[in-house]
Symmetry: C2
Subunit: 293 residues, 2 copies
DNA sequence: ACGTTTGATAGGGAGTAGTTATCAGTACCC
DNA sequence: GGGTACTGATAACTACTCCCTATCAAACGT
């Protein structure tokens, strides 16, 4: 309208009829309480107020276009921010792979990694602070969906020179005769190891608990006892010179399942499923068993 | 909605019902093709896309507020731009008064003065380039309204020492015996003076025409003839030392009517009428007869 | 297991907004 | 000067949208 200064032409451009536009402009003037256009049967002019309103209207429309563009781009999956929560006993060993994956295949994904314990992650997921979690399954809370990614065995870690060092077929019952060191309360790995111990009637060694896996292995290296580590941690934590040795359990070894957790209501389920599959393919070099479905 | 994360609360704030808001959000999502909020029967969360859309929506609303504010301020008369066209034979003598008036009483008025000849002003008015004109009435074109402001007599200007110098009752017929100098074509003052001359059968002196009033009086001072000047110009153009003298015509003297001209469709008629009245009061010190209505 | 609270859905009614047809005024052209 | 064509406004009618009340189904907390 402001461009054409002609009701019929402008109406045609907008795809409506001249009376409709006419009354629309009249309604706008009524609403604003200001005359916007000067009408003659021969000429249409914008009043100064009309000029300014038209300028502002263009700004409004621009902002609307931006909004639509934003929505348009948001419709593409694997773009925009993704807040991923990862438990501390998984993060150090899987993140390198995951970050490389995102960098190579999901360039437009803004990945924010939050390393917290399971309960905190689940709270964050429910509150909307986090979008996706990578932790040990099952999460055991309602309202979430789980996508398994891989299983990893637990491995026995002992001090260098320990009788079991390098042993490939340790029966779980052997744990009863050992001092088992565990992580602090709150780490799910602690509970998982405890489960294994309880299963065979083994007990935690005294009150010594570690705040992190590196600390834990230091305790083991110091000869205070043995511990259970997930396979993915072995390569990093028991490197040569660490004064540690590993021992495998008899098949089937105890294991934990690691997977993605998302809100059941998320609407990005398909996207996350695909992400899970990409992750499975990326961790082929880790000592884990990929799990689908 | 983005603020409350709760359909019922948000609906209450907006002043509508929960189903209405629910379907509105659904419709928006449909239109944008993107999920904006995650709904649980227990919790409402914005998706990343929803966050961004909400941010953009706020910008849209801000722009709309600006628009409304703009209209609001535009509703106040005597604010914003006013493009005033003035003829050259009026501008130098009335503008000082007018500008002082605007500066003192209409501080928020952005006055732009355009000094052009009548036909150009009328074109500009019709085209919307100008909002208001100050010129000699009648304009003689359709579609415009006229507001008379004042009448000013024509005064005879002669060289110093001329037989009529200082004479207070010169009959118009006297013009027949004089060399009358006039402005260039296009100046309405030329036509007005010509009318006076024709009335009594007087003729223009040769081909000598001036482009401006100052030039014209220089010609008179140089002894090339006499001319007719509007009263408002006398004080400025025939100051002491200008080697000019004036003579008044017998009552009733020839005169011209000066007034405002606006588009009949303008919608600012009331504003301009008030401006005219202010102008009338401001020019009390000029040698004119104020005219109302 | 039950009650409360949440968002979604169904159905009906009112108001808006669009359509076509027509009017009235103006400029242009012969 | 008169006719013509084109302008925006108006009228009457229609259709649709939007909103409301009432109700439902699911999920959390007790």
């Amino acid at each position: 309208m402001a461009d054409h200064l002609h009701f019929r032409d402008a109406a045609a451009v907008v795809g409506t009829s001249q009376p409709a536009l006419s009354s629309a402009v009249a309604a706008l003037e009524e609403a604003l309480g200001t005359q916007l256009v000067e009408r003659t049967t021969r000429r249409v002019l914008l009043t100064p107020a009309g000029e300014r309103v038209a300028r502002h209207a263009r700004r409004v429309l621009d902002a609307l276009d931006d909004l639509v563009d934003e929505a348009e781009s948001a419709r593409r999956p694997f773009t925009g921010p993704l807040h991923l929560g990862v438990i501390p006993t998984v993060a150090p060993y899987v993140l390198p792979t995951l970050l490389r994956l995102v960098r190579d295949e999901y360039r437009e994904l803004d990945l924010y990694v939050h390393e917290e314990q399971t309960h905190s992650l689940l709270d964050g997921l429910a509150a909307g602070r986090l979008d996706l979690l990578l932790l040990a399954l099952p999460a055991g809370v309602p309202g979430v969906d789980e996508i398994p990614v891989y299983d990893e065995d637990f491995t026995l870690v002992v001090p260098e020179g320990h009788p079991l060092a390098g042993c490939q077929g340790v029966p779980r019952a052997q744990l009863r005769d050992m001092d088992i060191l565990l992580l602090d309360e709150g780490h799910c790995l602690r509970d998982q190891a405890l489960d294994v111990c309880r299963e065979v009637g083994a007990a935690e060694a005294g009150a010594t608990r570690a705040a992190s896996l590196p600390t834990l292995v230091q305790l083991v290296a110091g000869g205070l006892g043995a511990t259970l580590l997930p396979e993915t941690a072995i390569g990093v934590e028991t490197r040569p010179g660490s004064r540690l040795a590993v021992a495998r359990f008899t098949d089937p070894a105890p294991y934990r399942r690691i997977g993605l957790v998302l809100r059941a209501s998320t609407g990005r389920a398909a996207e996350f499923s695909q992400l899970a599959e990409s992750l499975r393919q990326s961790i082929a070099d880790l000592p884990v068993r990929v799990v689908r479905g």
